[in-house]
Symmetry: C3
Subunit: 307 residues, 3 copies
């Protein structure tokens, strides 16, 4: 089994056996890259990063992954492109595809944009974030991080906190966790930004979950606390937003109150919700998590290219 030539649009596009195979491959590539620097699996292959939205980690880690596999990367950067002239994004994708890239990584504001173009475009495509909808390779590196840090995923208790309603990361992570057994998800957020019913409908019966209002209600039970940003623009009332800062900011002092501290994850970038003081705790895994993105994505690219 392999993902050769497949599109990756959703976290559901990975079966459990795909994930286990990719995680082991990621570990192997890590060793080979540490050993040799740059490999030659993807020699002569070309990846396009078609980013219609700004990005740091995702774009850079895809670039590093492809370069370390020995391939080439061509960036399509919307800020210097003819989109200024009013071209449709679908035309742009057709043109990029016509140049014959071996794989295209797409970041878009529009939900389901990759789904819309997948049959138009011949190259395999990887959804690197379609608005508030999904971000499957973020979930891949998230679950890879949990697997590396805790040795397994089955049976774990995972708290996901922050902007669950509009964040694509919580959805994709939830979907991917359904591939494992006896996982329990705690959605930690005020009602106004709690996880959407569409997401819950997708995972119902495949994973246990419950909604929780505040992190202190559940933290000691958790194996993983996964923090995401709360975005000011989601709140009609600025005072409500300011009040929430008190409740949903995780700092060292807060964590030290508990006997058991779960591993702390964050897709980054962080703003105020995760204090830099936490960085020194052994449970802080978010920079390791970012780094894992390189290896998880390299594994995925290698499989999709079939090299």
């Amino acid at each position: 089994m392999s993902l050769k030539g497949k599109d990756i649009l959703s976290a559901f596009d990975f079966e459990r056996e795909d994930l286990e195979r990719l995680f082991k491959l990621a570990d192997r590539l890590r060793e080979e890259i540490n050993d040799k620097g740059t490999l030659d699996y993807a020699l002569g292959k070309v990846m396009v990063t078609a980013f219609f939205e700004p990005s740091t980690r995702t774009k850079l880690s895809f670039q590093f992954a492809m370069e370390r596999l020995g391939g080439k990367v061509i960036n399509f950067d919307v800020s210097t492109s003819s989109l200024l002239k009013g071209e449709s994004d679908v035309d742009t994708m057709k043109i990029i595809d016509g140049y014959g890239p071996d794989v295209i990584v797409i970041r878009q504001k529009i939900p389901y944009f990759p789904h819309k173009v997948k049959d138009i475009v011949k190259a395999p495509i990887i959804n690197a974030g379609d608005g508030p909808h999904e971000h499957p390779t973020q979930a891949l590196l998230d679950v890879y991080t949990i697997w590396r840090e805790l040795g397994e995923v089955d049976g774990l208790k995972v708290g996901i906190m922050g902007d669950l309603k509009y964040g694509r990361t919580p959805s994709s992570l939830s979907f991917m966790l359904t591939r494992f057994n006896n996982v329990r998800i705690y959605y930690i957020a005020p009602e106004v930004i709690q996880i959407r019913d569409e997401v819950l409908k997708e995972i119902k019966g495949k994973v246990n979950y419950m909604k929780v209002d505040k992190p202190e209600d559940v933290i000691e039970e958790l194996d993983v606390l996964y923090i995401t940003r709360l975005q000011k623009e989601r709140f009609a009332n600025p005072e409500e937003y300011e009040r929430l800062k008190g409740v949903y900011k995780i700092d060292k002092k807060f964590l030290m109150k508990f006997k058991h501290i779960p591993i702390i994850m964050h897709p980054l970038p962080r703003v105020w919700e995760l204090d830099p003081g936490v960085d020194e705790l052994p449970q802080a895994k978010y920079f390791e998590q970012a780094k894992n993105g390189l290896y998880a994505r390299a594994a995925l690219i290698k499989e999709i290219l079939g090299v």
Copy 2:
């Protein structure tokens, strides 16, 4: 004969024998790239894309062309450069040239900018659009597309429609068509944006042409209908612009009225003047045309580098 080390500033820089040789080379490179992915003709060579204006197709296809030939590309992107500090574009070109690139591709707002710097700059330069003036490699891929689709260029009837006054594409295409025998050009546009007299002076006696007001007057005689955008800012009167939309928009329904439909080309990006419904017709060749840009430019780069 070859173009080794030559500057390409105008469509007139290609003789007929250059064009025929480049078209055959483009076909050969297409096969080799389809076969092997990345070639090694340009190993160790460096191209700079010096783009002082936004671009999608042109920049991407030059990048792909050079990468597929095995070379390297360094982008000089004006939006992140010191031009913000007020440096002259001529100084910028001198500095880029001093770094010793093997070829420089220039896109500029200023007409004749490449002509102005060609003797200052040691590397061969390719004009990738100098304001409303010329875009010779667009003409190269346009005529390559006609040659591939119709088997020859001699004797063809080519309608060029849209913004003929300010568009660089119609000028360069007209110039290149003079290299063939018995071609007839129909310039289809309202008088306010008809082809300029300077352009007609250059082609007089070398190609037959006539001005036409509306596409329906001539479409059944055409072998090729080449559509370009009408830009709103060209019209003093917005109502005039809105009225023209009715006359110069090509859609499937309009085309199906005619017994003979010519091949439809467009340099892209398109806005309203070419309806996406046309894409399904067998005569729609504009995405193929964009794709041909990769091979036509690869052939040109290979010759200029002398590899």
Copy 3:
């Protein structure tokens, strides 16, 4: 001795023997690159250019240097990054470093930013300008240019003119000149933008210097006249700025008044302070200086990578 694995934060990070070794290596790499095009010293190595500010020469010449050494470059371009989301620059650097680049080149607005992150970041870092503070590789190519043009640096008289107070180039150049014997620096500027006392404190006793008000007072004594821009925003009074234009603009007519003309250098970009008419004088060395940046930086990268 070598700089393998070292950070380069200041011009003081180079000892005299480092400079002499790097200058000779730069000359050797120049010959090898002219001979072979692209070398293979840095095969499989990856450099990140982390530019938080716009740049032409510095970024391009680092890119060219790395590509010509056979390595790969990944650009981190702040204008298309998540910094828009409010991420701290320190987090950004940690994440970039986690992807395992072999060397990171940093350009920042914030003085001492590279010093702040050097212990957080594992990869060797090169300061490519930290606000008004330092720009050590600019000094490297400046002194390399003097060494090439005049055969030695000991005993020379160097005039540095323009915005000495806020310019990072004058500081780094002054620091590097302390590594040579009997150098005399003339700081040519109106008092309001004269060299800062902090800079003078660093060089006191290590190099002779004096402040001079106008270029004509000293030009005949100089071996080198190093010109930098005067920035309008430094002056509270726009009339004062306009008046200075008369005094601090160097053109051919001005230079031709003197029996002896020193070599003319400028870090570029230039605006009005150095007239293009000077370009034709044999003493004009600023484009050669820009070009030297490629070889000086290639030598530095090669040493830092230890290849």
